[in-house]
Symmetry: C5
């Protein structure tokens, strides 16, 4: 689930405001980087120990030359620049995808306003046939909207795919009826393209029928509903578009390659070795832990991890968007708007400032 | 409350235009940074004095080596670059959140145009039942819009949460009626999701009823009102989205870590110590106050403070948005539009240029 | 008034295309920077002369050390980076504000289409009452739109405030009637909030009345007019929002502080002094004018001046937007559309290509 | 076809998440760069061998001087900066173009809702004439929308041009009728401008006729359809605009020139040659493979390749958008919505949560 | 005319994809820069020859000192940074202006759908009066739209101003009638403001009249047409806004000054002179052509040329937008849509996939 920490840092003016953020573990840079760092340090020390204990003096001289060459050259790739632009791009796409996720609330609001038909009051009069049809239509339209949502996310999100691996799982969750499953299975045989738009077409047809049968009394409502449905379709289609057309592979590779090359070079070039015997330079202390190389590793790899986490915002990272929670929320809220709360509102009372 | 200083710098061409801005205290970088700077300098002098008075000569030589190593390496992290991109992102999100705050004025304007029914003139004729219903509806709809606004902000803003810690406080303020509080409490028991959309559903239902009872005479108005209500819902939902899905934690951590690491390294690497006895270098004067390290600290920490202040724009910083003032303003303005000013306008007179 | 120079550089391919731009004075970097530069050079020479003629040799040695320290450290603040991001942000906000300024032309067009009623032809038949009401309404609605515009700008712009310091000035200009002034004054007593939306509410009420009295014959026009009016309100409200919520003070301060600190340090660190007697270095010529420090000053301070000029786009800088001209233009154009040109168009003739 | 790899990196928190991306070949930086790199290394070794074996000692001294000069100067062009901004711009345009591609689904949805007329059920009653007309109209309108799509892409995409080199090919695919081909050919003779809008005009005329003949029963549908058609036209026009008005040639040339100049200079300046006999510098090891120059080449040329691939997003690169697949998908989906699924929806059943 | 080269680089994966772009002359960096470069080199050699042949030895020593000072200091201005941000801004504005150019096709489509009235078929029945009026109206409305377009561009574009220097030229082109010219001339006397909106007001009035006379049968069409007309007005107004309010002069000056200062300093500081007699440094070869200074000149001045060309996108550069071609295209296309193609569409036939 997404890590929300805005509530923990309401006041930037307090002392050490971001410190408590540094101590989080879930979704943190430590959790993301520690395995890579461990592997890196292991390699570093292997080389270091080889130099110190396994090499002849001549080999050491060659090693020192190679180290010199690597150390001097590794700065020639301006990594921070390309990383800055690349992470910027990935963050932008991540947020656009989040904003594209449609919310069925608006549709539910419009449907509730447009298609009348109360549900039977518990101990009350029997509803007419028309009332029941209205209710059926309302519930089915929002169900179709959420179904389209789920079908799309099944395709783009590993989490949702885990929850609904087959059509049968969707049927079991109550979002799809048995008869609809058959239609989808028949269609799957015909063409492999995504079929998220089919429930939306059904929803359109129901709206159309409701207009013809006189349940919807105004063309304005039909127009508003159609525009809203097509907006949902646009968003879902765009989400699939973001999934199909990623950041160009070559860009991601260039950035990743630059980073890994840099640190492979640093493995050699930033080895901390005892100063050569004849040297009097006091500027190369014999430090046993490559502190700054490790820090740099955390920093750059952590920066790239931002991109790795966000390039697929619907995965299973700590910081990815919790789609399954959203699906449950949408089912509950949408049914409530079109059914329980339909045509109900608190009594019209005079408010406190009435005069 | 937000610090507005645009009015103080109308003319960039005047001499020293930004100087008066440097002298502000509320919301200033000084107020934000002084505690951190004090702590940092304390640490700096502790180390400095330890070196000068508590260390043996050999310890001093080791210290100098470590200092050399830290001083040389601390530039390897291109902090200004990552800070630039990060602060850019946070500033962009801050402004988007500000722009998302809905204003009820538009809704009030549409309602005033759509639902007729004057209020009784003081010493005049009695209003009919229809007049009163219209007025009740208008007032209730805008009240619901503001209620949805308050419920959303209660969730995302510490300020508003302080003002309305419980439902009872909202009832006391006159924005919620007793009966509505019960509905919310019942719902709270059922599901923990945000319920900001419920008043908007009620508002929709009232509009729908007004259309059925003939108070609203045209479907166009209904359409316009529904679209406006759904726009308010979209904005409030997006505000909650910004609160739930922050800037990814790992990004914030990478930036903060880089900054703090840099200055911890500077604690050692930029110690100003007397030149070694044998050294003849005139380039290292024995300065007692680390002026440039302090300035750099103010600069970089101040830059990060921009992000710390803006990452939660609805907190209690000097520069955060004054939501409570906005809520009061909205209540006053919305009631005025739908009630006091309803169907009133100055007499139609010929203007000065009439010919 | 804004400096428009696009017309002077139509062709980038011509030789020295931007040279003529360098020779402009109004709104130029020279005009903005010369005072600051003069003050800076005065300080520079004061210190320089003190060193050369007023210091003892020992003081000079200390001075040289301090100069060394300042010169070496002043590069540690990456000013160009923070300036680049900051100026980018200010330029973006400046342009967004300019684009938000509403133009009453669209509203006038819609009103002219929606509310009929010709003005009396000079020597012709007398207009009916209905005709006159229509004309009155049209003129009043656009007047209200422009009045809302002026009231908003009074608040955000020094120029407009100078032109209309009090309500009385607005009345005198013919934009407000005496009766309306009283309403505003009464309201000012009640609440200090901005009242730009009041004329728009009146305009809505007039439209509503026109629909009821049958002058407007279709609900579509009412819908279109209401949407346009609410768009004007949104823009004016957003302009006030940009004025109230500036670029966060701390950001502006960080940038300004960094700049001034840099040049204060440069006052010491870039003093051009005669080489030390024993030195044989030919690399420090004894130059009497700190040419490059002055150029750098122009460059960086000029860059910041871009932000200083644009942070309040409605001030009185040479490059600020000429709002008073816009107000006059809007009055003229809007009245012309709704009145003089109302229902008039050239005779429908066959064009040249008719066949 | 586009390389979709988002599904392969769902979890950034897994160890070495981007490693599997480094191993891809299709669309990879290796596939794009290897020919250039080979050519570059060939040149490099030619010069290197010339120096080592073909030059007299004096020539070698001159060569070393030139190498020195080239090596020192080649850093004076800040390539990473201009590349960063340029690639950013190209990537932005690439994504905007992708987003502009219209999807006929929305239009199909609206048409299906607006123009009734079922198709004959297999073993059922005969359809009336009106039913058939409706079906004909629906199918023709979506066909025209896709035809406009294809005509546009024929112009901007090499792939689509390959598939439909002549009008006849479009006719053969069933998207164009023989009679329509004649109209296009007649028009081609008259004017060379793009004619993508002609099918859209026909679609408009069909809609207009459907309204007149009473098949469409509401003006709202006509309005919605016209707006949607004009949106498709706007998108197609904008695609042609992006094709006609590229990134300015001079910008592309500046970036490309800078890159090639840099590496031509590096050919000389980064030659790894044996240290001069008298030199005791241990810092220039005699390395036989210019490892870092090669890496830098991959990095910078790879970065530029991002731009080269994306500057024409509809070409035939591995990473370009697969338009032919999209065309087939649109034909299938659009016909299905307006025909097979027209007025059909699963029976309205009570869902699982019905109570 | 704009240089379109996207079609020449469809495949980034081909070897040396951008090479053919480097060989273009029209709109190229060479064509833009060669005059400046020639002038610069002339200056360079003048100084160089003066030093070598006209100076006494002592003057040479002074010259060398000045050269040293200039060479060391000229790097203190981070030009690439400010250029990057500035060019980014100009490119963004350039593209926004291009996108703002309205296309009359949409308006023509709506008019064709809304105002009926066929043109007389060659050998057929005579058209009624109503038919002719409809046709007249349609043709006049699109003519007015294009007229507004031309009047706007006359103001912002040198090319269009060249084509239509006076009203008479517009009349001659058939876009304006004699009677309309008189109105414009009368108005020119009254006020100097731009009058592009006048034809749009006439168009509105014609639409209004068409509705009143019953040619337009639905209010929806009127609404759609008015919204489209106001969109055209908004775009034309915004184009004038971009022309009036340029990139602030001070920004352009700062960038240009920085660039020219840099290269004036380089004239001195990068003079390639023979090494001083006593010097043994092998690092300063005596090169006769300042290769890298020239390359840097091309690079930086070429980068600025991007801005110089794009700052006025409607000028006469090779890369500026070909407005005159667009005007002709719009006249042809718009008349064709509203007249020739009006109410015509190919016979409704069953397509290939009909079953």
């Amino acid at each position: 689930m997404t890590i929300s920490y805005a509530g923990e840092v309401p006041n930037g003016s307090s002392f050490g405001c971001f410190w408590r953020i540094l101590c989080k573990w879930r979704g943190s840079v430590y959790k993301l980087v520690w395995r890579e760092l461990l592997a890196y340090l292991t390699l570093y020390y292997t080389i270091n120990l080889l130099y110190r204990f396994a090499m002849t003096e001549e080999q050491q001289r060659i090693f020192e030359k190679v180290r010199q060459y690597f150390g001097a050259q590794s700065e020639t790739i301006p990594m921070s620049f390309v990383l800055g632009f690349y992470v910027s791009l990935v963050v932008k796409r991540w947020w656009e995808q989040y904003k594209l996720l449609p919310w069925p609330d608006t549709l539910a609001l419009f449907i509730s306003a447009g298609i009348p038909g109360a549900k039977p009051t518990p101990g009350g009069f029997k509803t007419t046939f028309k009332d029941e049809t209205g209710r059926l239509m309302r519930r089915n339209i929002v169900r179709y909207a959420i179904l389209a949502y789920v079908i799309t996310l099944q395709r783009v999100s590993l989490r949702v795919k885990r929850r609904f691996p087959t059509w049968q799982h969707v049927v079991d969750s109550g979002l799809m009826l048995e008869s609809e499953r058959k239609v989808f299975e028949k269609m799957d045989g015909k063409s492999p393209m995504s079929k998220y738009w089919m429930p939306l077409v059904w929803a359109t047809n129901i709206i159309n029928r409701a207009r013809k049968e006189g349940l919807i009394t105004s063309d304005h409502i039909v127009q508003t509903l159609l525009v809203e449905l097509s907006d949902i379709r646009r968003r879902l289609g765009a989400l699939i578009g973001y999934d199909t057309v990623c950041v160009p592979l070559v860009y991601t590779q260039v950035v990743t390659l630059a980073l890994y090359t840099y640190f492979v070079a640093a493995l050699m070039g930033r080895q901390l070795i005892p100063p050569a015997p004849g040297s009097t330079s006091k500027y190369e202390p014999d430090v046993y832990f490559p502190l700054f190389t490790a820090l740099q590793f955390c920093f750059y790899v952590g920066w790239l991890k931002v991109a790795e986490v966000l390039i697929n915002p619907f995965g299973e990272d700590d910081d990815d968007i919790e789609l399954n929670w959203l699906i449950d929320r949408h089912i509950k809220a949408a049914y409530m708007i079109v059914d329980e709360m339909h045509e109900e509102h608190p009594e019209l009372l005079k408010d406190q400032y009435w005069e």
